[in-house]
Symmetry: C2
Subunit: 269 residues, 2 copies
């Protein structure tokens, strides 16, 4: 059996100087360069594979500093601070000696405590009652995800009207299905198409500048999900002078809140 395209895409090779060598993957190509989610996953992967890593991911912020060229790149991951049960990471991706991505990550050993999901899953049709899109994605990475929209699909017409709301809800999983882990959950956090395309029904040029993922899922919750569907919800809060934000959630089909995530995105008009 061949390896899943996701595992190929996030593969890193250890270098003798402690850095990692990665490469862009045609299977996750975006309009220009790779799908941001796959780069975010790969930066987390550099932490997950690191021999000094303590605990599991709780927070990750990735900054997209420049367009990545197709080909290889170097990932530097450094534990900036290690405490008894927590660890802070600084990460940088370089091509031709130039920084193209920066990131920080936080890992921790979790303890059992009281807990609750305050942002509960909205009532939506079940995954198999939501239609599969008939079209193939305009960019290759879209085809690596099974997306079943229940609200706020791509606009039926790019009419440039202000639709007043940017919210999207969809069932989503890897295509073909793959058991969920921290890396794939990171990539899934970036699966939403740009909110301004929804709000304005206008496919203006955009680019994510910074993205933060908070992991409420631990290993047990990931195991419970397996290769199942996640419900994703995303909405913008503000669009102002070239930048809009997006706030998003990912729940398991059973209703466990796995991730809350945010990003700020450049847009051009």
């Amino acid at each position: 059996m061949s390896r899943h395209a996701f595992d190929d895409a996030i593969a890193l090779t250890a270098q003798s100087d402690g850095t990692w060598l990665g490469h862009t993957s045609p299977a996750y190509a975006n309009m220009v360069g790779p799908f941001g989610g796959i780069m975010a996953a790969q930066m987390l992967q550099a932490v997950l594979q690191h021999p000094q890593r303590l605990g599991d991911p709780v927070a990750l912020t990735v900054n997209f500093a420049a367009a990545l060229a197709d080909g290889s790149f170097t990932v530097q991951a450094r534990p900036a601070r290690t405490n008894r049960s927590t660890q802070h990471w600084m990460i940088e991706v370089l091509q031709q000696g130039q920084t193209v991505l920066t990131a920080t990550a936080f890992t921790a050993l979790r303890r059992d405590t009281w807990g609750a999901d305050e942002h509960t899953m909205p009532a939506v049709p079940r995954p198999l009652d939501a239609p599969l899109p008939e079209r193939a994605g305009r960019v290759e990475w879209i085809n690596r995800y099974e997306m079943r929209f229940v609200e706020g699909d791509f606009p039926a017409a790019w009419d440039g009207r202000d639709h007043g709301i940017s919210r999207t809800r969809l069932w989503v999983r890897d295509n073909p299905p793959r058991p969920l882990d921290f890396a794939s959950l990171t990539a899934l956090s970036d699966v939403f198409f740009p909110r301004i395309w929804r709000r304005r029904a206008s496919p203006v040029p955009i680019g994510t500048v910074s993205m933060t993922v908070y992991f409420h899922a631990d290993v047990a919750r990931l195991r419970d999900v397996g290769a199942g569907y996640l419900l994703g919800q995303a909405q913008a809060q503000a669009f102002h002078r070239g930048y809009f934000d997006q706030t998003a959630q990912l729940w398991s089909e059973a209703g466990a809140l796995l991730v809350t995530t945010h990003q700020i995105v450049y847009y051009k008009e």
Copy 2:
């Protein structure tokens, strides 16, 4: 006229090696170490004062890696990538050669575009119709802010019940009033008491681990606010095995969304 305590607290002195020297400030003391918002403001300040800085802040992520000791500290701010109209920063705060905070920031020259605030300000009483707390803050930094709660004040009784919702809404500004700027807006983004204290009415030990601020305010919007009140709203989305998140917004009294901000917070039970 003496300088505002906030300006004293965020003051940085340039060092010959390109780093900055800062010091903790008793006026913004927290239970242990300084108020996180003042440290976040100071890290942004190192970017704002940097001779190579391009544009105004759009995004900031601060990671609280260790307890800061009272006294001086060193701030290193480095432009990791400078593009035509945008810039990515990596920032680190050290004490005794050890990393205590890490951060990334993104600055940009903004262009005029279509814009909208999708998350509109909730209907609440006006600032002067909301009561001033009668008590002084249990920690010193609380006294540096005028806080007028309109919903979700500190629990009247620490009864340990699950109140089912963690939302707080309050009018807030510096005390004494001070014209809003990017640094003070950053500190104000961390002004909310821990959501678990509200949800559970239990003052368990907590600590912010990572905080992200997206600035929708530009210089013109800051000028419009002046020393006026901001409406702040904060709510948790999930509490799970030692960490909860918080999503928050700050609007001007006129209803402009100035900041959307998020944090993930450690809690102990």
